[in-house]
Amino acid sequence: MQHISIDPITRLEGHGKIEIFLDAQGNVANTYFQIPELRGFERFCVGRPVEEMPLLTNRICGVCPEAHHMAAAKATDAVYHVDPPRTAKMLRELLYSAFYCTDHTTHFYALAGPDFIMGPTAPVAERNILGVIHKVGLEIGGKVIQMRKYGHNVIEMIGGRKVHPCTSIPGGITKGITEEQRKEIEEMGHWAVEFAQFSLDIFNQIVLGNKEYVDLIVGDVYTHHTYYIGTVDENNKVNFYDGKVSVVSPSGKRLGKYAAAEYTDWIAEHVEPWTYLKFPYLKKIGWKGFVDGEDSGVYMATPLSRLNAADGMATPKAQAEYEKFYSTLGGKPVHQRLATHWARLIELLYAAERWVELVTDSEITSTNIHTKPTEKPTEGVGIVEAPRGTLTHHYWTDERGVVTKANLIVGTTNNYAPIQMSTNKAATSLIKNGNVNEGLLNMVEMAFRAYDPCFGCATHSLPGQMPLEITVRNRDGEIVDVLKQFVE
């Protein structure tokens, strides 16, 4: 049996590794997507005051600290049984909308864009954000940087710091915004809406206008029929900050909705011997293995799942794009994983519109931003939608509010089983008779890149060694070939 190992070692999020085993004919026998586990976080939290958790957990990860800050803030609200004032909730959501705009922008232009704008089989040297700028024009680079700057400005104004916000506390937030800041944030929000529309126009022209790409998106290689989850508001519209988590089946039927505190009734975890990370699945359906279908408890939590799990978008321009998305792709739910990139851009537009909506609310500059906790702290769960999927924080404390136990289900963990299934399917479809080349490997990588996986949060150690190395071994474990990408 041959053995191929794809090792995309990365700086920010630890590293994942794909092991592909070939049979005697050189076809894929099985694929394992391995993620190293960061150990000891629960132990690290125990003994600390729970109000430190929004500051501490946003250090877990350098990619989405804002998401951890918000989930932790909501969990600490719950621990103290306190409901923040409306303005505090709106300010948190406003910060979060600005964060979504920066995060989704980076993903599309630095990651998904290169695959589609340059083409999935373009040389690696061209398949990056610089290639995109050279092909589409300098204007794009300037807009991407502008979008990120505006997002960071809002995060800093409300969150107190540019990247790692520090203003959410149990019962609300420590600082509000002035009328002057409000106007500034509104102007930036209008710009963000235009930018999101510009991004969707690019997607329309370059991706949807190219039959080859459309065929790739709707093709079977990147398709799985699973359950989908995502947070919705009281009208069942997508919401990133608050609401209930909606669960829909592969045929689009809503199984139910759960509140944060009910998550253990819905989600359970499966253990495999070859990886430290557990595979969450829907408890009510049960674990049936890495398989598609109504009887399999495998679910996905991504931008695409959020659209599938909701009845629509809460803002008008995003709703129009939502309708176009489903009419183009043949109705709900959409199972093609590469459509996640399109869904992400629709979410970008929603986040920008929501940003404007919140900042133009008459109560946004109110100084009523904190409800003082008066009850004894006990236990609480906070859920937000991280860009990569539903993020759940659960804390237990003693009566002084000191953490005795913590449990986190992070965005990517939800998607571990579907990522495993997608890489296996792509590898099986694309690697035939031992034929492995750079283009095919990128097509396999594209299968997991759509999920935007965040493996273990911030391991920052440079230099990151090799982005991609494939070792082919015979059944005795001897190396028969080594394929490398950007490895000297």
């Binding site: 610089l130 391991t459 920052h460 440079l462 490895v487 000297e488």
Partner: protein
């Protein structure tokens, strides 16, 4: 029209210090936080009056957990940058070294090194293409560590022992620039 208080993204404020020292890493992931410890120590040494460093110094010290585009954005407006980070390399743990970013064998100068962003080299190239004022020289001060998978605020003894040497290298780079 955007309000005047929002500066164009690529402009720089001429009053900004010309050197930035960035401590990079995750301060709650054991040895991965060594960059922060070094940067914090550099900052406190620079602020000590008894050291006799000329004041005010044209140096800004930051600690962050960023890469790619976000890290590049932090460097806009500076003439040179010194980035202190943990390196998972095949050298004895605690070894300290300084290299130019261009020499970094990251193999990702034209590849997305992060699954969520692009490499620093790529981000710098993009920023320069866009006309941003970015450091001509980016030096990395590395401390060899093992990959970290355990949460802790403490450094392991060999890495902790390397901090004074790394601090001295950064100070030498700031004042003499001849430490490599």
């Amino acid at each position: 029209m955007l309000p005047e208080t929002i500066s164009p993204p690529l402009s720089s404020d001429s009053t900004l210090p010309s050197i930035i020292v960035v401590g990079l890493g995750n301060p709650i992931l054991g040895d991965d936080g060594v960059g922060w410890k070094v940067a914090e120590e550099v900052k406190s040494r620079l602020e000590e009056k008894s050291t006799g460093f000329p004041q005010p110094l044209p140096v800004e010290v930051e600690c962050c957990s960023l890469g790619g585009l976000s890290l590049m954005e932090q460097l806009i407006g500076f003439d040179s940058a010194i980035i202190v980070d943990a390196f998972a390399v095949d050298r004895p743990v605690g070894t300290v070294f300084a290299i130019d970013l261009e020499e970094l064998p990251i193999h990702s100068s034209l590849h997305a090194a992060s699954a969520h962003d692009t490499s620093l080299q790529n981000a710098l190239a993009m920023g320069r293409t866009m006309g941003a004022r970015l450091p001509k020289e980016v030096t990395l001060v590395g401390v060899a560590t093992e990959q970290q998978y355990e949460f802790s605020e403490e450094l392991t003894p060999n890495v902790a022992a390397a901090v004074p040497q790394a601090v001295q290298i950064v100070l030498n780079l700031i004042f003499r620039g001849d430490t490599k």
